[in-house]
């Protein structure tokens, strides 16, 4: 099948180039640990085959007259040794123009994606295929195309590159207005260092706790984070009139509700939270609020209406014919006013990582890490594999108050948490 050599940005991706700043771009990272040290030459070869299979990742972002677009890039992204922290700034020019970065460190393969390319689900599919291809080259491990792995021996399918937002957008949209939320504040770390704290928990134990409260794991963890942030706000903000709602941005995979094979962005979000100005909340009350809000908003109809509003804006004739330079300025301003201000932090849960048995024997660990957000200094990524739930928190401020509060609350609720951190990788620590 012939493929176009260029792609439009999907609906969700359009905001990222505009929101990008000199010192920030929307990145996330997925990594797997194998049983042996990584061979960079083999990894490079595996990457070449994987990029052929994922043509929507083998691109550079370019400026058009009215919109950014993704142009096919025939060079190869460098396979680089890892550095002291995850998701540092991505300079695409120095990365051969690519919007993704492949790293290795000891037994770990990591891929860092710019959000214009894909979301967590698409990124996971890419990483699984890359790992499968690497193991095929190293140990002749043969893997079938299951669990989201796209075989490199097969040709890419056009359905994998579709902008599914346009396929499912309806005529009715809902308002996206929300109040501003509590902001985690602190002194920004110097030298652009990103702190990573990984809380490793027994997945079954977390699931058991969530089931006791009749909630899902995501709802449970979101409620604990809300409780943590409420405690922090109570300590820091003495004047009750200056209290703000605490809301968490929880991305939702739209593929659960709208069938799609796309490996590009296809996710929406929900912002459950509570407002402490209404009074104090117990943990059970927070949990109930989160459960109700998620229950109301995470439906096919509500999610569809939400992204229909974005698609309607994209199709607006007036907006389409505004030159990109002007459009960028407006979108940048809107993003600064609206973007991350509406939530205190993000919790993105990719669920359980499922692998074919041949890969399960080789993969010992998997992590999902969100890069620093635009306005919020703390972001959380969750992934479960091998019976372990790994809650990765990235932070750009010096004080680990959010992690300390969150993990100690989990311990108080009876969940054992093992802490791992990249603090020792910081030069001078």
């Amino acid at each position: 099948m012939e493929h176009k050599n260029w792609l439009r940005l999907d609906n969700a991706a359009k905001i990222y180039p505009a929101a990008q700043r000199r010192s920030w771009s929307a990145l996330f990272r997925l990594s797997v640990d194998l049983k042996e040290d990584i061979d960079p030459a083999l990894l490079s070869e595996a990457l070449k085959a994987t990029l052929e299979r994922y043509p929507s990742f083998r691109v550079s972002m370019k400026r058009g007259l009215f919109w950014f677009y993704l142009d096919r890039n025939d060079s190869m992204p460098p396979v680089q040794p890892d550095v002291c922290c995850p998701c540092p700034y991505l300079n695409m020019k120095r990365n051969s123009g690519f919007c993704l970065r492949v790293r290795y460190y000891q037994k770990r393969i990591a891929v860092e994606f710019f959000h214009v390319l894909t979301d967590g689900t698409g990124g996971l599919s890419f990483l699984k295929t890359l790992t499968a291809e690497y193991l095929r080259l190293k140990k002749e491990v043969t893997v079938s195309g299951e669990c989201g792995i796209l075989l490199c021996s097969e040709a890419p399918d056009e359905s994998e590159m579709r902008d599914s937002f346009l396929d499912y957008a309806g005529d009715f949209s809902v308002s996206r207005s929300e109040s501003d939320s509590f902001k985690i504040k602190g002194k920004i770390e110097k030298d652009n260092f990103v702190h990573l704290t990984c809380g490793v928990m027994n997945a079954a134990q977390v699931l058991q706790k969530a089931k006791e409260k009749q909630t899902t794991v995501t709802e449970y963890l979101t409620a604990v984070m809300i409780e943590a942030l409420l405690n922090i706000q109570q300590r820091e903000v003495k004047n009750k009139k200056r209290l703000r709602p605490v809301k968490i941005c929880v991305p939702v995979n739209l593929r659960r509700f709208f069938p799609s094979k796309t490996v590009r962005n296809f996710a929406s979000y929900v912002n459950p939270g509570v407002d402490p100005r209404m009074g104090e909340y117990t943990f059970d009350e927070i949990l109930q609020a989160v459960r109700c809000q998620m229950g109301t908003e995470v439906t096919r109809q509500m999610l569809g209406a939400k992204f229909s509003a974005n698609v309607r804006d994209e199709k607006n004739l007036l907006l389409r014919f505004v030159p990109l330079a002007l459009k960028n300025m407006v979108m940048k301003t809107v993003f600064r006013l609206v973007g991350d201000r509406k939530t205190s932090t993000n919790i993105s849960n990719l669920g359980i990582l499922r692998l074919p048995p041949e890969l399960e024997k080789e993969v010992t660990r998997a992590d999902f890490i969100l890069g620093p957000l635009s306005e919020n200094p703390v972001a959380c990524g969750v992934l479960t594999y091998g019976g372990k739930l790994r809650f990765n928190i990235t932070r750009t401020i010096c004080d680990p108050k959010t992690e300390r509060e969150f993990f100690s609350l989990l311990v108080q609720k009876g969940i054992e948490v093992e802490i791992q951190s990249n603090l020792s990788s910081r030069s001078g620590e």
Partner: protein, 234 residues
């Protein structure tokens, strides 16, 4: 395995202090071991650090020099003397200080930049006065510039204050705007003969006062504030 005595979390084998609480947590029963670092100690490279603004700002500075150079050359070549292009040079210098200089600083400090802008404006007016051979700088130009600068400084302090609500800040903005117009007209009166004490600024101060009073009323009426928020959000 050790546990942190403060937050209760389990620490990586070999770790002697909690990365969250920054306190020592040593398990005397555990043999000393070096924990496997989660990330290498490799510092961030050039491609992982944000681009420096310095080179871009230098290019912008050079570009802004082009109209100055062209106008100066045109002026000098036309009649051999440096005349009207001095106004262009002074204006571009003022524009440069107000619009470009702040980007050379890594931190955003509006009050500091405001001070620099007022100083640059005073200098600009002085240069205009000297070029034109006039004498209005000290009785009028300096007074107006310093007065307006002071009022804007006070307004900036009020806008940055966390204690005032949005509507209170709106009231302060209109009040200051009105005071600025009165200050300008009073300065005109005292500097130039034959002009009335209060003229056009009366209309502007009255309008500004009305807006300020409306903002104060809204600020003190929660129901009205809520109704406005409902109807006028964007």
């Amino acid at each position: 395995m050790s546990y942190c005595v403060n937050c209760g979390t389990k620490l990586q084998e070999g770790t002697t202090h909690c990365p969250l609480c920054r306190i020592d947590s040593i398990n005397p029963l555990e043999q000393a071991a070096t924990p496997t670092p989660l990330y290498p100690a490799t510092p961030l490279g050039k491609s992982e650090k944000p681009k420096s603004r310095a080179s871009l700002l230098c290019i912008i500075s050079l570009f802004l020099g082009i109209p100055v150079l062209i106008t100066t050359l045109s002026d000098l070549l036309s009649d051999g003397s440096w005349g009207w292009s001095r106004y262009v040079l002074a204006s571009m210098a003022l524009f440069y200080v107000i619009a470009v200089i702040p980007f050379f600083f890594p931190k955003n400090n509006p009050l500091f930049f405001l001070g620099i802008d007022v100083f640059a404006t005073v200098l600009f007016l002085f240069v205009l006065n000297v070029i034109g051979g006039w004498s209005w700088f000290f009785p009028f130009g300096l007074v107006v510039a310093l007065g307006v600068g002071l009022l804007i400084f006070v307004l900036a302090l009020m806008l940055r204050s966390g204690k005032l609500s949005k509507t209170a800040k709106t009231a302060a903005f209109f009040l200051m705007l009105g005071l600025i117009t009165v200050h300008v007209e009073l300065s005109v009166f005292f500097c130039f003969d034959g002009l009335p004490l209060v003229g056009w600024s009366l209309y502007s101060i009255l309008a500004c006062l009305v807006f300020a009073i409306i903002a104060v009323i809204i600020d003190n009426s929660p129901a009205l504030k809520e109704e406005l928020k409902k109807r006028a959000f964007f």
